[in-house]
């Protein structure tokens, strides 16, 4: 996979000086005595596909919520897409995209209506929405389904549509929370094709997943255990570091000793 220095499809460097789109330092979130996220520090660069791994309860969701501007950290700093996570949360939300397994689109609205709705929310003009809507529908091959209620679509199509809608407004960063859960292997790969294409176009992809093979598709990954980041590097380097054959082994080695689970 790509080296730390992000490159576009031709292999030329996008930015000689790596442009950071996410910069977190000692970011912490406490709930009373309980420290959900414990002083995490990380940088994510433009156009990177960053895998954010961890067992359930390790603090991934809490951390992501802070990075999305959805919750205020207890301490530490973070700059997301150039905006401060304490004072400019609304601006953060405007410049990022988000998609999770639990919620992505409205089941009782049609494909087109969903695109129109989210386009409107992101502040796109009607003309822009119309163009993007057509382009998106064509790209996914959903011409015959455009007037169907999203709830009637098979899961795979829903996921792909949700991702496309999440990047409708060309955000700097798109956060994906376990986007490929339960989908068949072919659709999963098609989904990752979409991710690759987005990354090629300069969108930074921040994704969490339980599929260890997907960890390999990322430029770099981090693994959270008990609220802390215990590893952060390219998949290949991590395997060397832990003398492991696969990412699953790396994960298992790190997560096995975890005291916390949810």
């Amino acid at each position: 996979m790509e080296k730390v220095n992000p490159t576009n499809a031709n292999g030329t460097s996008l930015n000689p000086e790596k442009e950071t789109v996410i910069e977190a330092r000692e970011l912490t979130k406490r709930f009373g005595d309980f420290i959900a996220t414990n002083a995490i520090t990380l940088d994510v660069y433009r156009g990177e596909i960053f895998g954010f791994l961890g067992a359930n309860g390790a603090g991934k969701t809490t951390a992501m919520r802070m990075l999305c501007g959805l919750s205020v950290p207890t301490s530490g700093t973070a700059i997301i897409a150039g905006y401060d996570v304490y004072r400019q949360r609304e601006l953060i939300k405007k410049h990022i995209g988000y998609m999770s397994q639990k919620f992505s689109l409205y089941d009782d609205l049609t494909v087109r209506e969903n695109i129109q709705f989210f386009g409107g929310i992101y502040g796109l003009t009607n003309a822009q929405i119309k163009d993007k809507s057509q382009e998106l529908i064509a790209r996914l091959g959903l011409e015959k389904e455009a007037a169907r209620l999203v709830g009637t679509l098979p899961l795979g199509w829903k996921q792909k549509l949700a991702f496309s809608v999440a990047i409708l407004h060309d955000p700097r960063i798109v956060f994906l929370d376990e986007p490929t859960g339960g989908v068949d292997p072919v659709t999963r790969r098609q989904f990752w094709d979409l991710i690759y294409t987005a990354a090629d176009n300069g969108v930074t992809v921040f994704v969490t997943t339980h599929y260890m093979d997907e960890a390999e598709y990322c430029n770099r990954i981090s693994i959270m255990v008990d609220g802390r980041i215990e590893a952060l590097d390219e998949p290949q380097r991590l395997k060397e570091q832990f003398s492991a054959e696969s990412m699953e082994e790396v994960f298992y080695t790190l997560a096995r000793g975890a005291r916390r689970s949810d």
Binding site: M1, G156, W157, G181, V183, T187, A215, E216, M247, D262
Partner: protein
């Protein structure tokens, strides 16, 4: 122990086919995996076998009892763990266990040996409310509750979905040990890598069975040459592979890309890729996994 014969189920006015003439059988004491993505029909099959749904066609029997005529007998003896660990959130671990034991006319003590290995892992939470447990713990509790009455057959519908890899591995270790107690287990899962832990598996997609056999036989029957290719840039590599004329199918597979070739010409491929400017190229033969077989069987079917 479990027999399905041309089982069919349709939903709604449009008669959408969820289960399409499915037939297979599970022997006593076997650990059988139903492998397939969401919407493949796994849950429908489980609900039919546990007598919660009536099929629209075909027949099935569990431990000799017909699912339609003898449903009472089945309900009195099988263990069932539906998707998403439904337990009573307000009751504690111990209370949940006690409840299900009593419902089946037994006590925790009577069959404690059966669940001991699993229970000790959650024992220290025995007074905590089930709603406050982590996903992995809930899963273990649900398994205990399904086992507490010493069923002859255990139906586990996607017990590892949404749970992290570590807990998933532990869960399958537990299932392995249960097998030693001669309990017949039918498990469904969307995770292809779990297929190898079953005695036999059935691959299912869109209501249809794609293959039934032992994991070993299934991977052995792959047929085509499968290579694992590595390069500095996965995305570029994938594009190149799909452009190559000898490619039957190519896709990402973790660190490597897997490519199924029309003929056994790996050197030709290597040369072609080098000519295309692929950097950091490494090619070796790939070990076929269930996922590879699944992808092949899906073929050019419209992905749903």
């Amino acid at each position: 122990m479990i027999e399905l014969n041309e089982l069919t189920k349709t939903y709604g006015k449009e008669k959408k086919v969820a289960v399409d003439r499915v037939s297979f059988s599970v022997s006593r004491g076997e650990l059988f995996g139903l492998i397939g993505p969401d919407g493949a029909g796994k849950t429908s099959i489980f609900r039919i076998l546990t007598t919660l749904l009536l099929p629209d066609g075909g027949t099935a029997a569990v431990d000799g009892h017909d699912i339609v005529k003898d449903y009472r007998a089945i309900r009195n003896t099988v263990g069932y763990m539906p998707g998403k660990f439904s337990l009573y959130q307000d009751l504690t671990v111990r209370e949940n266990l006690n409840f299900f034991a009593t419902v089946f006319g037994t006590t925790i003590e009577e069959n404690y040996d059966l669940i001991k290995d699993i229970y000790v892992q959650i024992e220290r939470f025995s007074d905590r409310r089930a709603g406050k447990l982590s996903g992995g713990m809930k899963q273990k509790l649900a398994l205990c509750c399904a086992l507490i009455h010493k069923p002859t057959v255990l139906f586990l519908d996607e017990p590892t979905t949404g749970v992290d890899p570590v807990s998933r591995r532990e869960f399958w270790d537990m299932l392995k040990r249960l097998k030693e107690q001669a309990i017949t287990i039918l498990v469904s899962t969307p995770y292809m890598d779990e297929a190898t832990r079953c005695d036999r598996i059935a691959l299912i997609q869109a209501g249809q069975i794609l293959a039934i056999d032992t994991p070993g036989n299934i991977t052995a029957s792959y047929g085509d040459t499968l290579l694992a290719v590595k390069a500095s840039n996965m995305h570029i590599l994938l594009k190149a592979l799909s452009a190559y004329s000898g490619t039957l199918n190519s896709y990402a597979f973790g660190e490597y890309a897997h490519v199924a070739l029309r003929n056994n010409q790996s050197e030709a491929l290597e040369q072609w890729l080098l000519d295309a400017g692929i950097e950091g190229l490494q090619i070796r033969s790939a070990q076929v996994t269930v996922e590879d077989v699944f992808i092949k069987l899906l073929g050019n079917r419209a992905t749903v």
